[in-house]
Point group: C2
Amino acid sequence: MTKPPTPTPTRSAPTMNDVARAANVSKMTVSRALRGDRIAPETKARILAEIDRLHYVPHAAAGALASRRSGFVAVIVPSIDNANFAETVRGLEAELRAAGLDLLLGTTEYRIGREDELVQTMMRHRPEGIVLTGGVHTSRVADRLARSGIPVVETWDLPATPIGHVVGFSNRAAGAMMTEHLAAIGRRRIAFLGGASPRDPRGEARKHGYLEALVRLGLGPPRTLRYGLPPLSMHHGAAGLARTIARWPDIDGLVCASDPIAFGAISECQRRRIAVPQTIAIGGFGDFEIARCSHPGITTIAVEAAQIGQRAGAILRTVIEALRRGEACPATIDETSMSLEVRGSTVGEREGKDFFFGKKKQKTF
Amino acid sequence: MTKPPTPTPTRSAPTMNDVARAANVSKMTVSRALRGDRIAPETKARILAEIDRLHYVPHAAAGALASRRSGFVAVIVPSIDNANFAETVRGLEAELRAAGLDLLLGTTEYRIGREDELVQTMMRHRPEGIVLTGGVHTSRVADRLARSGIPVVETWDLPATPIGHVVGFSNRAAGAMMTEHLAAIGRRRIAFLGGASPRDPRGEARKHGYLEALVRLGLGPPRTLRYGLPPLSMHHGAAGLARTIARWPDIDGLVCASDPIAFGAISECQRRRIAVPQTIAIGGFGDFEIARCSHPGITTIAVEAAQIGQRAGAILRTVIEALRRGEACPATIDETSMSLEVRGSTVGEREGKDFFFGKKKQKTF
DNA sequence: GAGGGTTGTGTTAGCGGTAACATGCTCCGG
DNA sequence: CCGGAGCATGTTACCGCTAACACAACCCTC
């Protein structure tokens, strides 16, 4: 007996050929039905019915191979566990899914070198675009990307020498803006917490903004210390405040590299019965939910995290489409806005929600 | 004149064939060099040198097509912007990257039906495994997965009728545990905040645990209200507390479906000069950083978020490898542990860090 | 030194789609 | 009633890689 033509009928997934046979058309027609090419409505209906009946699912890798379009966009963020980046990824995903593009997500965990590995790994999937966080990359990454010719969008910063497109804002300006706010409300001995590691170039940039503002405002020597490795978070804020105070007991203002850090610092103040903002006014960055919901609210710099993602996605859509048609696109620089949100951690006493820790005013309720 | 054999030398990415030619071997030998098959050391060295020189990057889609192994694992979580899930994804990623598997991440944003869409979309990439959050899925999803034969791991819960493997814990037990803790410290009028939407089955399960515990403890009628749509967060906690108090002004305990909710509730208490924990003891869930860093600390149920991911990854590694060898694997149920972390929001007065809001004890420091 | 295993490499035939061109058909104006 | 345009569909030739088998050279062992 000869073996049957189908050795093991292990009912593996149906292919486009199966659908074609069932609908009595050629493979190509099925392909056209799926991708919206011109096709007779009734043929299309018949094909779609068969697809449904057979539970056919197109094989993305095969399509990618044949069409030379992976349908992927690679995104690299320092951490997923950060409301800001999560928002950006969400905005990006929404924009890209609408264009039929899938996200390939990678996190560096703030480790230098990890980005390089990730880029290399992801290149194997031939992404049609890459979204990076920040403007600081190893030269190997820049090389690889340049060689590949893949459109690149850098986000969350305004790099001096961009690789490709940019959607972001000046972290330096953010650090300066908060420092100036504290000065404007009369603070003179302002410290900075965070941004002490090259692993987090954006945090460092905010610190530079603070340093520059100090000079500009004539506020004397900087008060910063090296403490902690990214991701800096609440407990770093608490411990960092303790160290800062130990070193400069007289500070009356504190700029933090992020809201979680600021929250930690404020909590530590509460524990130590230090009045915020009376004794120390504290500002953060990012407008995290905690900045709005904690008590007192945290004065912060709000940035459009979701929009950064959405716009990066929009740029990529345009560029990828142009590239598919063989056209080139000029590099875009899209500066997103940021705004100072003044809350209780720098300006106390706001009607109905004032809060003086450790003191008074047992307002009845 | 005849056209040259290479029409447009647009230096497109080199292929394995280019490497093979350059190293004077066959394509197959290059493939072997890359995947660790037996090969003469010097041949391998020569090939790797050429790969480096030519900047060759393997084409994942082509490999996947030929080998019938995508190298992908699909992960679906409700939201990426949640420290718990982010931790799980991180644990999973670490485990899988080590096995050469790439993550395909999708978020449902707590929308029913989104999971179904995502599964369908992701199936096009023929993932070798799927990690789901929770044990509640539409029948279409279950169908699709069953038909595909892809190994499935459900996480963050203990489904009554699992699809495949399980790594999780009982959210019901978690809700009960916190309720029992509040009862144990003398609370009798305990409310629950959260878990009011079928969009978040795990939150609902915690609420059920609360309800069961109430009955078991003889603590009278439940105090819960429908409020908010997932993801419930800090501001829902604040507003939810307000509503709960309006309805049941005499509560002395509050179980929240998550730490952020609890934090919002506590903040609202502070705003209203309600002493926590004296007047109302408040518990959360998840052991988020804010539970450790806020003031007072939040009593919570700690779960091993990262471990859930890590173990799900380990299971998949095993199962996928077995499957590649043609073996089958029995379904695993891996119950992860959880523990009650008692902090200031339910039990005040802990040496050195006590905090009675609005009252006394200006301990000098 | 013949038989049988190992080792290193090459050959062949796809994997499941799509680009590009080919084909038959209908419809139209002149 | 013919030429040519436009439409719906089919044919062919890959995309870049790997499974499976083929094969030659070498190593044993008896």
